[in-house]
């Protein structure tokens, strides 16, 4: 489970979009994740496999279905490697300020 795999998994706008969708609503099936995406199920499956291999998405079985969950642990490991010793509340305040100021601009 390397950090390289995490960076590779995140280095794609489609995969970041899938993570955004899980961040908004955790525990979705493949079908739910495909809804409204202009992509084949196979393409989404492939992207999910890369996200799972990097451990940023985990899946749990529910009957015959698979539910997908965003797993923030590897991204947190990266954050703490370089950011952990800085003042987390101040960084959070800064990113909140940036978010508020940029609201409505849309971002990737």
């Amino acid at each position: 489970m390397s950090m390289d795999a995490v960076f590779r998994a995140l280095a794609d706008p489609v995969r970041r979009r899938l993570l955004d969708r899980l961040h908004r609503r955790n525990g979705q099936t493949l079908g739910e994740l495909c809804e409204g995406l202009d992509m084949t199920r196979q393409a989404v499956t492939k992207h999910l496999a890369i996200l799972e291999a990097a451990n940023v998405v985990v899946s749990q079985k529910r009957g015959r279905e698979k539910l997908h969950f965003i797993n923030p642990v590897p991204i947190n490991d990266i954050a703490e490697r370089w950011i952990g010793k800085f003042d987390a509340p101040r960084l959070a305040a800064l990113s909140e300020l940036k978010r508020k100021l940029e609201e409505g601009n849309g971002h990737d």
């Binding site: 955790n26 525990g27 969950f69 642990v73 952990g84 003042d87």
Partner: protein, 154 residues
């Protein structure tokens, strides 16, 4: 979230053995090192109560041990005590699974509450990633990254 359930699943891979990971999850002297300033009290017998508290004695969470199968699975019935909105939600379930994989151990934490938009699940979702990063670091290097949440004393 799906079917009116609030649920988060966290997975981390740690270069250790299932026995060492079990000890880290259950021994108070280990827990205090990585659990960001709280202590944990229970005898880990099925049906026994557990509680988590700050050094000043304030209880943050409590419940009962639902399952204890060393070194494979721990399940805790979980009630929050501190924030009123999360405390009135009732009982969540936290299942910890330990699985040996090639050269490492996979730890899965599955925390769920049978209601949508749970404040408790939202609150613990801010804590688990840091706790798991700390636990991984402690087992692999002998040191933790953070001793407690930010300087705001969250």
């Amino acid at each position: 979230m799906t079917d009116g359930i609030s649920r988060f699943v966290y997975v981390t891979y740690i270069r250790t053995t299932p026995e060492q990971l079990w000890a880290a999850l259950t021994k108070p002297e280990f827990i205090e090192k990585y659990w960001l300033g709280v202590a944990f009290e229970t005898d880990w017998k099925v049906g026994s109560p557990w509680r988590m508290f700050y050094t000043d004695g304030q209880v943050t969470d409590e419940g009962e041990v639902a399952e204890a199968d060393p070194p494979r699975r721990l399940a805790l019935r979980w009630r929050h005590k501190r924030r009123p909105d999360a405390a009135q939600e009732g009982e969540a379930l936290c299942v910890m699974d330990i699985e040996p994989v090639e050269g490492a151990v996979k730890l899965t934490i599955d925390h769920s509450m049978p209601r949508p938009n749970s404040k408790l699940i939202e609150a613990v979702s801010g804590g688990w990633p840091s706790i798991l990063s700390n636990l991984k670091s402690l087992l692999e290097t002998g040191e933790v990254i953070l001793t407690r949440f930010g300087s705001s004393g969250r």
